[in-house]
């Protein structure tokens, strides 16, 4: 759950020639906008990406069908 006070920023502006197209009653652009690395919403997201990357490295050899003849670099 990520909520931001910047969700509705620039709502009336055109982006790349097109008006922004949010869901009804919800503008979710704010979900991927963070002002600095100390934003707690961002650190939550970053931790999850980091966790997924670590899991990927830990589990990479558990997929025996990995690409024939190639090992992860």
């Amino acid at each position: 759950m990520m909520v931001t006070e910047h969700s509705a920023e620039r709502i009336t502006e055109k982006i790349r020639g097109v008006l922004h197209l949010p869901m009804q009653h919800t503008d979710h652009r704010g979900l991927v906008r963070f002002d600095d690395p100390y934003d707690t919403r961002y650190s939550s997201l970053r931790d999850k990406i980091e966790n997924q990357a670590s899991r990927a490295l830990g589990e990479v050899h558990k997929r025996p069908q990995h690409i024939e003849g190639q090992q992860p670099d």
């Binding site: 759950m1 990520m2 909520v3 931001t4 910047h6 969700s7 509705a8 920023e9 709502i11 009336t12 982006i15 790349r16 020639g17 097109v18 008006l19 922004h20 197209l21 949010p22 869901m23 009804q24 009653h25 919800t26 503008d27 979710h28 652009r29 704010g30 979900l31 991927v32 906008r33 963070f34 002002d35 600095d36 690395p37 961002y42 997201l45 970053r46 999850k48 990406i49 980091e50 966790n51 997924q52 990357a53 899991r55 990927a56 490295l57 589990e59 990479v60 558990k62 997929r63 069908q65 990995h66 690409i67 024939e68 190639q70 090992q71 992860p72 670099d73």
Partner: protein, 321 residues
């Protein structure tokens, strides 16, 4: 002289004086306030991609970036021969001699970091009418976490962002989500072949439509008989979905915006039916993607974020319609 005549003369004097003073005022203003550039505070930062940098020109590129935008920039490997840079500036930078082009569209893959010790690929895919880098910016427009922070936190990850054109109003393209997913799958397969990293684990980040494109691309990769394309699903270990309309967009104005255009079906596929249920395309994708998830071993990890705050949304301008 009669009172009426005096009254008329007085009014003429007032009008003439007003005209003279007005002209002098305008003249003074014109001469004393030459046109000035808007201040940085009122201008918006722009994102630039510098492509075709020969590896032999890396030192020149680093020196140039240090001068143009030391804080908000990147330089990463595009393939075995070339580098790609990004900078965020208020003015368009001049094209350096050692680069092929400077552009803003960011179509296809843009590498944001490529450490030599990289062991995993993080690939971000933007949403509807989004920008491969600009969509991840801060509210002041310069700092971009995907480029300016994530590489520092994940020194063993190559960070890539993927851009594609989903201009809606006035579009003459007959787009489809399947088409976007196929192009993404081919592009990422080709990029990993060019950088000899076909077996590297992948974590994906999808924002809005980008998440739908990723789900379709993973389903395609799962079903394909092409070994290189199939490698994408085998290498995928994580998926972060941010505001992905899995159950359909509920925005009737979106349909109005593309009415009669070749991309009308594309928006219908992303929306909901009259009974508020997801479109047939999205329903089918949900089933396909569930099958992919249940047959991938070990299963890839999925994190899903969604907006909970009710926020004002834009109204489509009548001028556009």
């Amino acid at each position: 002289m009669s009172d009426a005549a005096l009254y008329t003369v007085a009014w003429i004097c007032v009008i003439v004086t007003s005209l003279v003073v007005g002209c002098q005022f305008l003249g003074t203003r014109r001469s004393s306030t030459p046109p000035t550039r808007p201040s940085k505070a009122s201008r918006k930062p722009q994102f630039w991609r510098i492509q075709g940098i020969e590896k032999s020109a890396e030192a020149c590129a680093r020196e140039w970036i240090e001068r143009v935008s030391p804080q908000y920039s990147s330089l990463a490997e595009n393939d075995s021969r070339e580098l790609c840079a990004t900078v965020t500036t208020f003015d368009k930078p001049e094209k350096p001699d050692w680069a092929r082009n400077v552009e803003q569209r960011f179509q296809g893959i843009t590498p944001l970091s490529s450490p030599t010790e990289a062991e995993v690929d993080i690939i971000a895919v933007t949403g509807l009418s989004g920008h491969a880098l600009g969509s991840f910016r801060s509210s002041n427009g310069q700092y971009t976490w995907l480029r300016d922070d994530l590489p520092k936190r994940l020194p063993k990850a190559r960070i890539l962002t993927y851009g594609y054109d989903t201009t809606l109003h006035g579009s003459q393209h007959k787009e489809s989500i399947r088409g976007l997913a196929k192009v993404f799958l081919d592009t990422i397969t080709s990029f990993r072949r060019a950088t000899k990293t076909q077996a590297r684990p992948i974590c994906l980040i999808g924002h809005s439509l980008g998440g739908v494109v990723l789900k379709e691309a993973l389903a395609m990769s799962h079903e394909t008989s092409d070994k290189e394309s199939h490698a994408i699903i085998l290498c995928t270990y994580g998926l972060v979905l941010l505001g992905v309309p899995n159950l359909g967009l509920r925005h009737p104005q979106l349909a109005m915006l593309v009415k009669g255009q070749p991309n009308q079906q594309f928006i219908q596929d992303l929306g909901v039916d009259e009974d508020e249920s997801p479109s047939p395309y999205l329903s089918e994708l949900t089933i396909k993607f569930s099958r992919v998830c249940s047959t991938t071993n070990p299963p890839f990890h999925i994190v899903s974020y969604f907006e909970t705050e009710r926020t004002p949304t834009v109204k489509v301008s009548l001028l556009l319609l």
